[in-house]
Amino acid sequence: MGKLESVAVTGMGAVSAIGCSTAETSVSLAEGKCGIGPVSLFDASPYPSRIAAEASGFPAIPGAGRGTALLFKAVDEALAQAGLSAPIEADLVLGTTLGGMERGTAFMRGFMQAPAKADHSLLDDFLPSCQLKRCAGRFGIRGFGEIVSNACSSGTDSIGMGFERIRRGMSEIVIAGGYDPLCEFVFAGFNSLMVVAKKQCRPFDANREGMVIGEGAAALVLEAEEAARARGARILGYIRGFGAAADAFHLTQPSPDGRGLAGAARAALASAGVTPSAIDYINLHGTATQYNDAAEYNSMSEVFGPARDSGKFDKGHDRACSGRRRIAGGCLLPDCARHGRRSAEHQRLGR
């Protein structure tokens, strides 16, 4: 392999149930604010769980879905911080689970009732590729675009893909992010799997009862360090390594021994060229399901050693409130660290 570029983070944006910007989210994390409440976006009465973490305070986009609006808010903030404006010579890699599915559900309702009268304009912002094109068009992003759809790891994997592209010289700037709006489809789906909490989300708690579905978007501007310095960009942090793996165990359940996650963590450490002892903070998925948390605990213990005395299992409160936003916690880490803040909550690990 040839010379590898150092990858810098020069912009961040986030919107979620606990903040409409990275600054708001950072404060909310430090204060231990919880964004969970009753579902207001659709009728949740048919479902066992009726709570979710809904975002608010972001502008709607005429003719577009909630996912696009969330995405625009996060990307707008990230680009502003990075000092980038149209035309932007950058690539765009976005992660999402279901894209504009709330528009798909609205279309499906109409189609099932009266196909001829269904509102086909809803399909203009249904598939993830629709949000990708809209985002590139709105912000004048002229490079290539890609959607990563790896379920809950989509956002992290989009950052990883952006990181690898810059590191290998395939891209100079990558806007990497993730977005997923709350919609009845995903709510019904996780309810059907019987993995949702009815009252509270308690990751790694011995009495945890499941996840709470949330929504949000987050974006990072990633750049080759040398190029970022050349244009005078402020560097917020660096991405040093990335790892991904599958566990080949089950379509929805993680392997109890956490071998997939352990493999990903080892790959990330190898990619960064560091040992486990170099790591000060780990931001986990922490869905608060029985299977996930046990598998994560086992995998982290295997890679980093027993956790009880290490202090390595610090979690962003957003993880407790909105388990599906993997990116936001990670991108806020540099911000929290710079301001000397840490997220307020340490929960006792209970397997």
């Binding site: 086909h120 590729s129 759809s149």
Partner: protein, 375 residues
């Protein structure tokens, strides 16, 4: 670009397509003979549409697995193509380090529709339909079927996902992966075709970009380091010389195999004469001076299926290089003025040394994959 030092070989090509179904040889015979799978199909609630749909087929004829009964039509297409690619590469199961890059722009619309029926009707969607209906289910099934613990990426960007997949697969092979699986699938359900017809009738800008007859199917390739392939005696269909994105301001792309002087094959993606001419110019050629160049446009054979089309184009280019044969153009393909010889009216033997696969979607060119004949 492919940022690595490895020479990447294509050692497996597997497909589940409307032409040839799961038989690569039958597929090439059909394409080289100018056949097309695009037909007129009646819509479930009235009207008709043009599309290239799979004939009746049974995934269990290809994959011996209890998993298949739970799979969406999309996953069945994907895993059948994957199995065939592995067979072609001489792998009973993938080697230990084998990442998967799977692309599908639309996912499983049939399972999503069925889940919605349950959800909207009774508030009780099926967990089986939910987990098997999400876009990354095919990659998950492939991981499960073959015990793959390497990264599995599902990409939904459209045709250009094929370029991303090849670039990143090549990079991982360069980093030490034993091989990589690169594939794509799209399914056409009655619901998809009916809703698409309404979408097209809406006349929106987005709908105009989707106007070509759609297709369905699955294609997978096995990529590996050419020295490793040689070492285990694997057959090499072609060597990848590069994979690039086209930037808006780059009106030319590097030609493949600059050191070689042989004839070139172009595997194009446009679906009308003016688009074909523009694509040829974009690749750096100057019509009508096209001596030594032959081209094919597989979407006339198989419809528009996004990354599936891109990988089918790549497969056609491999077969053209290997067989020294340019396919006969389908009757529906009207060549651009003065370029009739580039799209042969009969299958034409030619000593191709290199090929360019031009990848585009309804909004124009997106990328290229450059191939060299092995040896």
């Amino acid at each position: 670009m492919i940022a690595n030092r490895s020479r990447i070989a294509i050692t497996g090509l597997g497909m589940a397509l409307p032409l040839g179904v799961c038989d690569a040889g039958a597929f090439w015979n059909a394409v080289s003979g100018g056949m097309t799978a695009v037909r007129t199909h009646p819509l479930a609630r009235g009207g008709e549409t043009r599309a290239a749909r799979m004939p009746a087929w049974n995934v269990d004829d290809v994959v011996d697995s209890r998993q298949t009964r739970r799979m969406s039509p999309l996953s069945k297409l994907a895993i059948a193509a994957c199995r065939k690619a592995l067979d072609g590469a001489g792998f009973a199961s993938p080697p230990r380090k084998c990442p998967v890059f799977f692309a599908s722009k639309c996912g499983s619309t049939e399972f999503l529709r069925e889940f919605h029926e349950g959800m909207i009707g009774s508030g009780a969607g099926s967990p089986f339909l939910f987990t098997n209906g999400v876009a990354n289910a095919p990659a998950g099934h492939i991981s499960l079927e073959y015990g793959i613990q390497s990264p599995c990426f599902t990409l939904m960007g459209g045709a250009s996902s094929a370029v991303v997949a090849i670039q990143h697969a090549a990079a991982m092979i360069s980093d030490g992966a034993d091989a990589a699986l690169v594939g794509a699938a799209e399914e056409l359900s009655d619901f998809f075709l009916a809703s698409r017809a309404g979408f097209l009738a809406s006349g929106s800008e987005a709908s105009r970009a989707e106007a070509s007859p759609p297709g369905e199917g699955g294609v997978f390739m096995v990529l590996e380091d050419s020295r490793r392939a040689e070492g285990r005696g694997a057959h090499v269909h072609a060597v990848i010389d590069g994979a690039d994105f086209l930037r808006p301001d780059s009106d030319r792309v590097p030609a493949p195999g600059n050191s070689r002087k042989g004839q070139r094959f172009l595997s194009l993606s446009a679906t009308d004469p003016s688009g074909l001419r523009a694509e040829i110019v974009r690749l750096g050629f100057h019509p009508p001076g096209m001596d030594g160049i032959c081209a094919a446009a597989v979407k006339f054979n198989l419809g528009e299926a996004h990354a599936v089309s891109a990988l089918a184009q790549t497969a056609v280019a491999c077969f053209a290089l290997e067989g020294s044969l340019a396919p006969r153009r389908p009757d529906s393909l009207e060549p651009p003025d003065g370029l009739g010889g580039v799209f042969p009216a009969e299958a034409l033997h030619a000593d191709f040394d290199s090929a360019v696969v031009s990848i585009s979607d309804g909004q124009g060119p997106r990328g290229v994959v450059r191939l060299l004949r092995d040896g």
